[in-house]
């Protein structure tokens, strides 16, 4: 369908962008890659009165890596993450997950900030942000604030962002060299949204005993979430067959899956366990 009418602006500074967003009584929306917002507008799920295009804002396109972690500017595209060779060391889980996002052409436009703010329960980036304890830096009329991922994602397509706020950066904490990780998802076709997806990492000690386990699930239930019981089953174990089986059973029991046209709740529950099992095996391997 053709898009509903709206006004358009492409400001050159963040300050102007925030002022524009604030001026439309909550009816204005930032436009990043447009790969979610434009379809939503075509379907009339979103009908903003003003689009504030972020493409001319400086400094939102860089990937900065230092000892504190990885800072992804809001306008960093999927493509930029895939092409950045440093990330293979600095955040291999991020790269593994982003390889599953959408298709070639969409990866040339879609952005980290757009995905995080869109907050689709099946999307990879919000899942990684939550699993890795990311921090979101946002800028609004009242200035800048930092929101922890656990407080940012409130539900399907719902975040803690205020209508006048723009996400500037997503910071992922530093990735230690010995960390083990796995990412697994299942979709009917490459690039489609996941029916279920699992991100996992843990830090093994010299004897292979795991600690600091983080397990996140996407596409199952009304938002991306951590699986505390599965994490508890991993911590203190050496990830032998029995421990992996216990963790995946815990994950299956813990999720609250939904029925929809893509898969039944029972299928998603079983899939969650299977994907965690595969992710843990690939992590150990």
């Amino acid at each position: 369908m053709k898009l509903p009418p709206f006004e358009y602006a492409a400001p050159a500074t963040l300050k102007e962008a925030v002022a524009l967003l604030a001026s439309h009584g909550g009816e204005a929306k930032p436009l990043a890659g447009g790969q979610s917002l434009m379809p939503m507008m075509a379907f009339r799920i979103a009908q903003p009165s003003l689009l504030v295009d972020l493409r001319k804002l400086p400094d939102l396109k860089s990937i900065a890596i230092d000892k504190d972690g990885v800072r992804l500017g809001a306008m960093v595209r999927w493509r930029d993450i895939q092409d950045d060779k440093r990330l293979a060391q600095a955040h291999p889980l991020l790269q593994a997950a982003i390889a599953h996002v959408a298709h070639y052409q969409i990866r040339n436009r879609g952005t980290v900030g757009g995905s995080v703010c869109h907050a689709d329960p099946a999307a990879e980036m919000p899942g990684i942000a939550l699993t890795c304890d990311a921090e979101m830096t946002v800028m609004g009329k009242g200035g800048q604030r930092v929101i922890k991922a656990a407080d940012f994602f409130l539900g399907a397509l719902t975040t803690a962002l205020q209508p006048d706020e723009i996400l500037i950066e997503v910071k992922l904490p530093a990735w230690p060299a010995g960390r083990r990780f796995g990412f697994q998802e299942f979709a009917r076709r490459r690039g489609d949204f996941a029916m279920a997806g699992i991100a996992v990492f843990y830090d093994p000690d010299a004897g292979g005993t795991a600690s600091n386990a983080h397990v996140g699930v996407i596409g199952v239930g009304e938002k991306q979430r951590r699986l505390g019981k599965a994490e508890a089953a991993i911590n203190g174990s050496t990830l032998d067959e029995a421990a992996i089986a216990k963790a995946s059973a815990a994950a299956s029991a813990e999720v609250e899956p939904q029925d929809d046209i893509h898969a039944s709740a029972a299928y998603r529950r079983a899939l969650t366990g299977t994907l965690l099992e595969r992710a843990l095996k690939s992590a150990a391997g």
């Binding site: 053709k2 898009l3 447009g34 434009m38 379809p39 075509a42 379907f43 493409r55 070639y104 040339n108």
Partner: protein, 158 residues
Amino acid sequence: MTTKFEVNGKQVEVDVEPRLTLADCLRQNLRLTGTHIGCEHGVCGACTVLVNGDAVRSCLMLAVQADGAKVVTVEGLSNDADLTPLQKSFRKHHALQCGFCTPGFITTAHALLTEEPDCDADRVREVLSGNICRCTGYISIVEAVLDARSAYKKDGAR
């Protein structure tokens, strides 16, 4: 709003409503009807064009966002004198039937082969997963793209 950009090497200036997509602008305002519109919400890939060298969906981009960009459509990837190696390969392998999806496959394949002339079959399949064809069953399209790789290795483009 006026927007100025380059299409297939030619500078254009159009006056459009902000809500006009780049796909509609190319077809209606610029009469470049080689770019096809299938779904208008980003799932079929028929509308793929190159913007600053990147393959993108022109139904998910506003014409006003193309301001200052270099756009190449499927028309820009052909010439009147002869078929290009990619076109020849599509013909040789019967990589089209009705042809509706073909502009999207040609633009996408061109972008891929320009950047990665050494890509393997798996990569070709992965990249083409964003384009839908209701006729061919894809096998012939993958073969055509693989067969066209040699042409991109020699002179870099086309």
